[in-house]
């Protein structure tokens, strides 16, 4: 715990030291809510058939999609970003020299980002629901928290795997952008997956976010319990185990390759 706290504290101090950036980022996130407010007004408040399973509100559907996808984005980007930043700032070597396994260093280094992600998630839901008049009084927040945590674990595995790739190839932003676009398309972030052709829905079933979004919407908008979401939770749990194992294993393999080639601290 002390080690986790040390990483969290380090990153919190550094983030706060860039005060302008810190505040601007928060403001930017909140402005997104304003953006969708007017999108919602343009569409109108009448229930839409496509969103009937989720209570009919497009804005509620969208809000949860954006909030959860933000956390997915943190998972996908922050691990690789941590490695790259440590390589460019020169701190990777000093950190790797310590008797702490590198995957653990990577996970602890993401705690601050996940904390801020959680803060934004709550802000999106609290402010967004007030702004758009979304009723979440029936929401099952226990199920929602479970889905949130499992989603984080799933994409943590992907993020760690990606961090290993970035450690070797040094730059990969364009590849991650392409991957993120595909995820946005097939997972139901902006629209229900039922609108997609069958072959894209099949691809979507292989993406954990699809299940996470479905479960989160049902939990918050329909009050679905953990028992109601058993299939979703099992799917996410399975994804989490496989992806974390694959991610950590691949990352350690990448570190070993980097130590052979001498490229661990190159950028």
């Amino acid at each position: 715990m002390m080690l986790a706290w040390a990483f969290f504290r380090r990153d919190a101090i550094i983030a706060y030291s860039y005060r302008v950036s810190f505040v601007a980022q928060l403001l930017g996130n909140l402005l997104v809510l304003g953006l969708f407010y007017y999108v919602g007004r343009a569409i109108g408040s009448a229930p839409l058939p496509a969103f009937a399973p989720y209570g009919g509100s497009f804005v509620a559907f969208l809000l949860i999609g954006i909030a959860l996808t933000d956390c997915v984005g943190v998972s996908l980007v922050s691990f690789a970003a941590q490695i790259r930043e440590a390589q460019t700032t020169g701190t990777l070597e000093a950190t790797v020299m310590s008797p702490v396994r590198l995957p653990l260093i990577l996970i602890y280094s993401s705690l601050w980002n996940y904390f801020m992600c959680g803060v934004r998630f709550v802000l999106y839901l609290v402010i967004g629901s007030r702004l758009y008049g979304i009723d979440m009084s029936r929401g099952n927040f226990g199920s929602a928290l479970l889905i949130f945590l499992l989603t984080v674990l799933c994409f943590m595995g992907v993020g760690i795997l990606w961090a290993g790739i970035v450690m070797l190839v040094k730059r990969g932003e364009s590849v991650m952008t392409a991957g993120a676009s595909l995820v946005l398309l097939v997972s139901g972030v902006l629209f229900p997956v039922d609108l997609l052709p069958h072959w894209l829905r099949t691809i979507g079933d292989l993406v954990p976010l699809t299940h996470a979004l479905e479960g989160m919407r049902l939990a918050l908008l329909k009050g679905a319990s953990a028992a109601d979401l058993a299939d979703t939770l099992m799917a996410l749990g399975s994804f989490a185990i496989v992806l974390l194992t694959l991610g950590i294993g691949s990352f350690e393999g990448a570190v070993s390759i980097a130590k052979h080639t001498g490229s661990l601290t190159q950028y």
Binding site: M2, S17, Y18, T91, G262
Partner: protein, 357 residues
Amino acid sequence: MKGTAVPASMAAIVVDDVSKWYRGWPLLRRRRTAARSGTVALEGVSFTVHEGETVGLLGPNGAGKTTLLKIIATLLHVSAGRVLIHGCDVRDDPLRARRLIGLVTSDERSFYWRLTGRQNLAFFAALYRLPARSLTERVAELLDVTGLTGAADRSFHTYSSGMKQRLAIARGFLADPRIVLYDEPTRSLDPLNAATIRDWIAASRTRSPHTTHLIATNQLHEAEALCSRAVIINRGSVIACGTFDEIRERWRGRDYVVHRVTYRGPIVDGRWEGAPRSGLIEIHEERRDAHTRTLRVSAIDGSDALSLMLAAVLNGGGTVLRCETEQVPFDEVFCGLVDRAAAASVTNREAECSLSR
């Protein structure tokens, strides 16, 4: 040294026939020997450092010092051979090895510039799992010992180069390691700060006599001042290993010394009667002004060369103003060894080329 069986309990660091080469991607690999292709950074390096010793790892730029240090520090994998840290193989159990090692680098980028000195040390101390209370005390102690208490709560980016290097040393000692590795600890420091760092290293040896130090440096005077032994590496291979006196003697095959004679009077150039058999090795003018000359005379220790030289000055009507005798500067020994090794390497490559034709 190769294959020497040293009880693990006696040796702090055992480098056993370590080689390191970097291969290109298989598609780009050029045809060479089956064993290795690409760049050979280290080849068959073997030496032992005993507990409590301070050993210098010397070599010109690109010799492989940093590569070897990184291998010992578990930051690089060996291609062949092994490294033992107090009996622990760094490849098989890197976590255990890292608990025993502190690394002092000269890379000032290795800190978090937005954190204060104290915050930096506290973070790195947490990585070594120091308990909370002793962490705070240890950080305060090291800041005090390195003279950084006054600047402890300033951001790292406000520190001077000397302060940054002192913080690097403090970090290297955070976990009270049994072995401290230094990678050019005084590089790019001014003479005053460099002297401060050297003094601190020397004092730390007194404070912790069982701590082993391995200092990679190309500052030869620094190595002589701090280290009891030296390992000289050139082009990835050990070309000399031992105490500084042993290396001097091995280089020349016998002891020789350098005399500096400052005199006023007619020119003396070493061409006097008896000079060929006097033990004189070489003589050259080091300095000249309107009235005086200073000659640097290399001669076999205990020979007649100095006496004959002084006699030549006095018999020519000159006046000896100053005479100093010192051992051969290690710079000269080092350059001689490196040049000799380079020449041998060229000869070997030419032989290989002629054999391959």
